[in-house]
């Protein structure tokens, strides 16, 4: 151990990463591997009132289309969806019910033999919505907010000592930053069921 501390050492995963040998989530093959394509909500708030998966299911190579109406049994308890260090509140449960909470919310999953077929069939799923008004401006909802963890002591203006030192602020400067969505590394997962997992 001692010889490594303080020495410049190349990353142990270096060769694997620069040669393309390192494997990431969607890079594990398995016999009979299937592909999924997710259908997402095009409204930000409301309810699904109808899903037509007939055209999608007719595409050759599609095994099934899952929605909230035919999904497998899901747990009711929040604990089943969050880890020990998760923040307060209820975690998102995909395909749980008909409620739409955000634009882009996953609402159906097409399962097919190839990714081209899965993606094409997903484009054929037709959704009907009951749309509710949505708000995306956080500042406009300030009156509705509730502090989760209120500060112990209220913020104070600068003391005389601080003012003498040059601190002039009585109001905190506000800057608005906008970040664009990132494009690299789409979320993916490869799942292989084995008999051990059914307990």
């Amino acid at each position: 151990m001692a010889p490594y501390i303080g020495t410049g050492t190349s990353r142990i995963d270096g060769v694997a990463k620069v040669t393309g040998a390192a494997k990431y989530a969607a890079e594990f093959n398995a016999p009979g591997l299937l592909h999924g394509s997710i259908v997402t909500s095009t409204i930000a708030r409301g309810r699904i009132t109808g899903i037509d998966t007939n055209a999608a299911k007719r595409v050759k190579g599609v095994l099934d289309v899952f929605t909230h109406t035919n999904r497998p049994q899901m747990a009711d308890d929040d604990k089943a969806y969050k880890d020990d260090v998760a923040p307060l509140g209820s975690p998102f449960r995909p395909l749980y019910g008909d409620k739409i909470m955000f634009n882009g919310q996953p609402i159906a999953l097409v399962v097919a033999e190839t990714s081209e077929v899965a993606r094409f069939a997903a484009s054929l799923v037709r959704i009907e919505y009951e749309k509710k008004p949505h708000v995306t401006d956080v500042y406009s909802q300030r009156e509705e907010t509730v502090p989760v963890n209120p500060p112990q002591t209220p913020l104070r203006p600068c003391s005389r000592h601080q003012r003498r030192a040059g601190c002039r602020s009585r109001r905190l400067p506000r800057q608005q930053y906008a970040t664009k969505p990132n494009t690299t590394r789409r979320s993916s997962t490869t799942t292989q069921w084995s008999s051990m997992q059914r307990r």
């Binding site: 993606r119 094409f120 484009s123």
Partner: protein
Amino acid sequence: MINFQYTRANDVPEAVGLIGRNPNAKFIAGGTNLIDLMKMDVEQPTTIVDITRLPLKQIEGMPAGGLRIGALVRNTDLAYHPLVERRYPVLASAIMAGASQQLRNMASTGGNLLQRTRCHYFYDAAATCNKREPGSGCSAIDGNNRMHAILGASETCIAVHPSDMCVALAILEAEVHVTSVSGDRVIAFADLHRLPGDTPQRDTSLNADEIITAVELPPQGFAKNYTYLKIRDRLSYAFALVSVAVGLELDGDIIKEARFALGGVAHKPWRDPQAEAVLRGQPAVATTFANAANVVLRDAKGYGGNTFKIDLARRGIARALTQAARGTPQSQSSKKII
């Protein structure tokens, strides 16, 4: 992406024959725009005609001094060709200002002319878009329109043409050679791209059964006094907020000939003969340049998210004309705007 039949054309008559018979067929060359649009289900051709084997890959000097560019010449090959670098450096500069080297290696001359707007509402099947679905509305006008047009727009569409190369071709007064089963014709560059008007679904004046075979450049290349200035939200690999292509001929410090066009501000590269006339015969100084900018922008209109472009264009035009007059064109690798 829908199913399609994939075929290859071995010569131009075969290619136009395939397109002529089938209104749902599309050519593919580089594929960098078409495949993107097909993945988003914006374009849904049922037949793809691969034209990458057609003999349209030459760049040749013409006897009278111009240049003939085959429609399948890749953008990188065009930008790096010695005749282009020497005689039409504004074209090389504009090409290298756009996309990435990977995309420039794939993209064809013809495809660059015909690429479609990158308006995010055009791309989003859940948004209303008169270009994608005539009569459905325009989500951009009251929406997020930072990248959209300030000139030549209509109530139906405020999209911009995204190409850099086309802005240079506009000032070079290129000619677009096309052919179909009915024969050949030549389209003046200014007439290729349309304004949206009431029919934003039609980007160009090309007929559905025509193929672009070549682009010809007249001899005048403005190699001594030119620039392509592209102003964007980041230093590279982003579309223009405003871009300016300039070609000048000077006699001492008097402007003899002047051409300039704007990119990123309209449904087509924007040239204004009145603005160019203001420059001719005048000294190449700041007041002259400011006059020309004011003329070209006299009818400019912002839509809220892009109103800043009007003043940005005013200053960009002045800077570009200065660069061209001084013989110090903008470098596309050093990002300092001199």
